[in-house]
């Protein structure tokens, strides 16, 4: 057991010391920071904060009226003009970014005219003026009712059997589990792919024969697989930490980010499937690495096998439209597709308990079989320099003592 941990630690240290790891790990946070910085820059510096003018022939607007607190608090100032000439002068002087004209029959026609200088105003400014009109029309009502009238209704979908809910005001409840599923899949596939490279490297470096006089094949592969998984998780945690900090900072400037909550149940489900799914694919990659002689040969086979894992991505539209479709139930139960299917279905739906339990048990059983078979194949194939194992050899290896 000591050697198992030594191998895991060695593989971990070896990988995180590589320049490619540093570039890969710091590259994503750098990208997140740049994107968030640009977003904040566009929202703050890029936004036109000049007032919006209006000429109210209908006599329904009061420029001092504002929506209740918490609704569009950053609204630009509104400025009333007595006639179009005064408004036009202010526009030409650059004192206002645009002006609206409300006709005398506005309440009947609901039609507005907007005048701007050279470039039309931004969407945010239009929303500001629409909210300003709504606030004036609803001024006679209570704050709660005003909020409802201005913001519109909030639709929250709650599951019958649990405390899961998706709110129309919080799109992250839907997006985050989806994104997390993609991220974890990326980690699993990436780590397992790297394991294939490590195994074939060991064979090509001819270090295998010396190593297996110190450790068992299972310790060797298990230790390396654990080390590589730890590398990927380190990368993931660094990315997530940067993303969370970015969201916390960005929430001060981007109102939509203020409703962000961590989807714990989704993460728990993903974590439950993550480890057996990783063991399953790691076993397969080890078996391939043990059976082939060159990395390129292994990657070709692994590419075909990867399709078995990413197959559910072809059904994203079906998952959104009909998450309980029989095809998706089948993909939920099939071991190589269960991880991605469950992650994506869970993001938008509640999966029946029997399906979760059955698919998890099938996945674990297949993962155990995969690791067991891979150790056998690896043991036979590891010292066959320059000679691949054929299917008969693989079968014979799996039945060997």
């Amino acid at each position: 057991m000591r050697n198992f941990w030594l191998l895991a630690k060695h593989e971990y240290r070896k990988m995180i010391g590589k320049r490619s790891f540093l570039l890969g790990t710091l590259g994503i946070p750098f990208l997140i920071i740049v994107v968030m910085g640009l977003l904040i820059f566009v929202i703050t510096r890029g936004e036109d904060k000049r007032p919006i003018g209006y000429v109210d022939h209908a006599g329904i607007l009061n420029e001092t009226v504002r929506p209740p607190e918490g609704v569009n608090d950053d609204m630009v100032p509104m400025h009333a003009f007595s006639d179009e000439t005064a408004a036009q002068s202010a526009l030409e002087a650059g004192d206002i970014q645009a002006y609206y004209i409300l006709a005398a029959d506005y309440l009947q026609t609901r039609e507005l005219e907007r005048y701007y200088w050279q470039e039309d105003i931004e969407d945010a400014a239009r929303v500001d003026f629409a909210d300003f009109i709504r606030a004036n029309l609803a001024a006679a009502h209570s704050d709660d009712l005003q909020t409802l009238l201005i913001d519109g209704p909030e639709l929250t979908v709650r599951s019958l059997e649990g405390n899961r809910e998706i709110s129309s005001n919080n799109p992250f409840g839907f997006i985050i589990p989806f994104a997390a599923a993609f991220l974890f899949v990326f980690i699993v596939m990436g780590s397992a792919g790297y394991l294939l490279q490590v195994v074939t490297d060991e064979k090509e470096n001819r270090t295998m024969e010396m190593m297996v006089t110190s450790v068992t094949p299972l310790q060797l592969i298990g230790g390396k697989a654990l080390g590589l998984m730890a590398v990927s998780l380190t990368q993931l945690f660094i990315w997530l930490a940067v993303a969370v900090v970015a969201v916390l900072i960005g929430a001060n400037y981007v109102p939509q980010l203020q409703d962000f909550t961590i989807p714990w149940t989704s993460l728990l489900i993903i974590a439950l499937y993550f480890f057996p799914a990783y063991a399953l694919i790691a076993g397969m990659m080890t078996a391939i690495g043990g059976a082939v002689t060159e990395l390129q040969q292994g990657q070709q086979i692994a590419g075909i096998l990867n399709m078995l894992f990413i197959f559910p991505f072809f059904f994203v539209a079906l998952i959104i439209a009909t998450p309980d479709s029989p095809i998706l139930v089948a993909l939920t139960l099939f071991p190589t597709t269960s991880f991605i299917t469950v992650s994506m279905r869970w993001a938008i739906n509640v999966i029946p308990t029997w399906q979760l339990v059955a698919s998890w048990l099938i996945l674990v059983a297949t993962a155990v079989l995969s690791v067991y078979a891979s150790a056998k194949i690896f043991r036979v194939g590891m010292l066959r320099y320059g000679q691949s194992l054929n299917l008969r050899g693989v079968w014979s290896a799996m039945r060997s003592r």
Binding site: L6, N205, E209, T216
Partner: protein, 304 residues
């Protein structure tokens, strides 16, 4: 025979097949503490497969292997130092941490390994290169690094396959000194090599494997004595290679060494020489065969 009575390694009638290929059919030998044992054989004879069965890398299809009095366990593996023929170290890693890591896998504490390693690196002129990546070292340096990896954890059993490969004469002498020191320290050493003069210089006993079977086994001196008469040395002029019963001829400084086929005795050669025209003999004597002669004789006999 060695001084100790209990063999450290006992290989009894092991067999190993790979599909239709019978790699090892019947190999047996015992190795004792304090001896350097030669494991010999032509390419493809089954030496490496036998070593791999001893180390539990392959499981034998028949026969048995006993290491330190029983089956090889994980604890016993830590008492073995193995330098395989197909060797390699992690090329993109630095020398010192790699050797320390390999020693820790053999049960050593990292600090103790580092301390012990310093002496080995200095002795083998690698100390100045300890921070270099292994791929930056010459072939000879990598070979010496491999020798350190084999010995650093102070194993009781040492198995070295072609230990002098890639070494210059100075380093070959140093490696021989180190192997001999290990023997004197009571270690059990198995050496597999095709350099017969190194076997004669270092090994007390040998086993010769051919076609997966033990064909010669015993003390080097006894084997040479048994094969005496299977070689003659002569000085003179003429075509000695065409003599019937001569397997191989080596000539040096006017002296010709003739290895004889089994069944051919020196008297037959002497009579043929006396009757051949164009041959002039100035000196004729029965030579003690070298291991090289014996190797060639036995292997060629096996091919008939």
């Amino acid at each position: 025979m060695s001084t100790a009575n209990t063999p450290t390694i006992a290989v009894a009638s092991v067999k190993k097949n790979f599909g239709q290929v019978k790699a090892v059919q019947d190999v047996s030998f015992e190795v004792y503490p304090g001896e350097i044992f030669g494991l010999l054989g032509p390419n493809g004879a089954g030496k490496t497969t036998t070593i791999r069965m001893m180390l539990d890398i392959f499981r034998p299809d028949g026969g048995s292997v006993s290491i330190l009095g029983g089956e090889l366990s994980e604890a016993k593996k830590q008492r073995i130092g193995y330098m395989p023929e197909d060797r390699g170290l992690y090329k993109d890693l630095k020398l010192e941490p790699t050797l320390i890591f390999l020693a820790t896998l053999k049960g050593m504490d990292a600090a103790a390994a580092k301390k012990e390693l310093e002496g080995w690196l200095k002795r083998l002129d690698l100390y100045e290169h300890r921070d270099k990546k292994i791929q930056e070292l010459s072939k000879g340096m990598q070979q010496k690094a491999q020798l350190i990896a084999t010995l650093l954890h102070n194993p009781d059993i040492i198995i070295v396959d072609e230990p002098f490969s890639g070494l210059d004469p100075v380093n070959t002498r140093l490696a021989k000194e180190i192997i001999e020191e290990q023997r004197q320290a009571g270690k059990t050493i198995i050496m597999s090599t095709h350099q017969m003069y190194q076997v004669e210089a270092l090994c007390q006993r040998i086993v010769l494997i051919n076609n997966g079977r033990t064909v010669l086994y015993g003390e080097v001196d006894d084997i040479k004595r048994n094969f005496a008469g299977n070689a003659v040395e002569l000085e003179g002029h003429g075509d000695f290679a065409s003599l019937p019963g001569v397997l191989e001829i080596r000539s040096q400084n006017g002296t010709h060494h003739l290895a004889l086929a089994p069944g051919t005795n020196p008297q037959d050669i002497f009579r043929t020489l006396a009757t051949r025209d164009g041959i002039k003999v100035e000196r004729f004597e029965i030579a003690e065969p070298s291991l090289d002669d014996i190797f060639v004789a036995v292997v060629k006999e096996g091919k008939r």
